[in-house]
Symmetry: C2
Amino acid sequence: MAKTSLSGFPEWLPQQRAIERALIAALARAYELHGFAEIATRAIEPVSQLLAKGETSKEIYAVSRLQADAGKDAELGLHFDLTVPFARYVSERAHELVFPFKRYQIQPAWRGERPQDGRFREFIQADADVVGHTTLPLHYDAEMAIVIAEGYARMAELGVPPVRIGVNNRKLSEGVYRALGATDIAGVLAAVDKLAKIGPDAVTEMLLAHGLSAHGAQCVLELARLESVDIGADLDAFLARHGIASALAASGVNELETVVAGARAEVGPVVTADLSIARGLDYYTGSVFETTLVGHETLGSVGGGGRYDNLARAGSISYPGVGVSIGVSRIMSRILGANLTVASRGTPAVVLVAVNSEETRVTARAVARTLRTRGIACDVAPKADKFGKQIRHADRLGIPFVWFIGEGHEVKDIRTGEQFEADPDTWTPPSRDANIFVGPVG
Amino acid sequence: MAKTSLSGFPEWLPQQRAIERALIAALARAYELHGFAEIATRAIEPVSQLLAKGETSKEIYAVSRLQADAGKDAELGLHFDLTVPFARYVSERAHELVFPFKRYQIQPAWRGERPQDGRFREFIQADADVVGHTTLPLHYDAEMAIVIAEGYARMAELGVPPVRIGVNNRKLSEGVYRALGATDIAGVLAAVDKLAKIGPDAVTEMLLAHGLSAHGAQCVLELARLESVDIGADLDAFLARHGIASALAASGVNELETVVAGARAEVGPVVTADLSIARGLDYYTGSVFETTLVGHETLGSVGGGGRYDNLARAGSISYPGVGVSIGVSRIMSRILGANLTVASRGTPAVVLVAVNSEETRVTARAVARTLRTRGIACDVAPKADKFGKQIRHADRLGIPFVWFIGEGHEVKDIRTGEQFEADPDTWTPPSRDANIFVGPVG
């Protein structure tokens, strides 16, 4: 079979995959402790649904049966995130769910973008969202920032760098932009979103092209670059300074202040107001979140999300939500590329039972069976080779112990060479060896 | 958002998904205890790879960027199983793997078939395979039957019906068919595969159409329906009776006898020789396995697999393998449809902290935070409603405990109405309530 690797579709070796699983388990644990229930949605959605939710169509992968009768099937595509499928799930199953509905979901998504550092065509997202029936209290926005912080705190124990979780508010942005005369709010947001990448002069040009005055553009930039200590007072001063009397903006200031204060009260200064955050997707209506790895800012956002009041509907009922999405594959690519995290081995087996001869393999299998009954993952040597070769097989797999059956039973720690008597009914590996250990390098 | 459910793409409610996760965890545990390492492969493969491996093209879902430049991208498709991607993975990563390589993989696969009872267009498969470098000892074939038995034994604790694991051997079938004059072995296998569905007369007609004589067809049927007590002796008698002197068939008898005896020695009569097993995929070269739920035979196979000596290659090196695939979605559809398994709740939260007023929500959050730090999953009431309403919210979610903060702290078991003093620093839920419990109905 020819080599057929596809660019942008990452696949990991077993010991790398053990790291990815540890990241996923850390996030799942953080989500579950907050009462988020796990669900999975199908990979495939009608293209019309995907296109309706603010994604440029060229990034969508279309799906069709290879020999379908033309026009017979609905136009289908692979989901590009987990939020749009989740909104659809809520709309379809609303009468069977209890609201507010807290769910998390860790699955691949697909985008036909040009692969780059940390950007893949198939990538794993770890999402958590809360949706309410008709209304959803603001305290959930703070909880989402808290959950991101706790998820990253758990991943930090695995070697993932510390994060900075920025919060902004769309009502504030939109209120200010409208007061300054902007009509194409999405266009202004898109321009502000490019600030770090293309600088203030180029953004100013874009803002002028979107119909803002020179003074308006200057105000937009000033807001995006405002570094605040006391966010409420500083923003009130900004609005007063520029004579912006917008109920929408004032409401945004209020929400932003509440959310940041609520989150900081629980998880500290890792959460900050960041008025430069715009985010690409246009379904956000209030809080927006963006997360960067400290010291790895060029990697871009490793987690984001926000409040969406109009994404999910069923009949006349709306299901406002707030959610976050953490980019597992992007984090993976960085911690592997920068050699930050290591797994002790790729195989779950902690012990390899040596085989004296093919005739006595049954005896070795019986020992393995006893160990398994006691919850100890193990393997039996593939061949009755010389013991040196069997030990080398364990060593190459990273299996720390080899079990020998002679007149009695002995088990060897092949890292130290230590060998001692052992009984399959009672021997237990040290707890640090029992499972694959994932942790920071060094 | 309009209702857009797609037929053949199952999605579960949280408490159903908890059952699916329990099935997956049971299988993962069985695989890991045997030293299989988990990996994941990308969902997408070149169509040429998929077509080369014996799947009819109309069942493959093709994937293309919605606005791709014509002819620019490789022709891609969604994988229809996990064996073909695994063989490709081994070929690509051979120099980085340790052989024999034992891996398991639990992921969705896609086929554009007409949805039926237990047959979906998107379905989860739980695969385990061992591949060797150049050779792979036969004892791994027995281990695969053992692993299926152990996986199902773990699922039986969750309410999944008992299984019957049938084993056959392609060398035996092919040796006999060739000796009887057949040349289109795949065609004869496909006819035998239909025996249970269309009956012996229709199969005989198919066999005659494949060029077999009336006597040949009769022998093929006799073999498929042979019910054996002593498989080696009975098959030797069958071969002698019909004057079939085939080294290939004799080797198949030998392998079959060894594999069945090896598996039964460890897991008992759940594993049996079944000479009617043909299996559709034509990459099998030795042992073939098929699993049915006892009492639910009409559902079809819920797990199968076999030996493939020629699927994975890299240059001149072959990587023979043996593997099994368990149909998680098919099992799910049956245990839900027949109401065999139940989950205690959908949310991971075991306690809901009641909120006295929005002003004191911070106190409730502090209690929740303390509980979480101690590993207890919990949620805080969405609103400072009357306590009766907060208790009803917990009840609807299946959360067994509600925490009240008055002069002291109290926790109520809302199933019994019992209420007692509790300290967030020491209270621990009963272990049967700590996590979502999945088990047989009744």
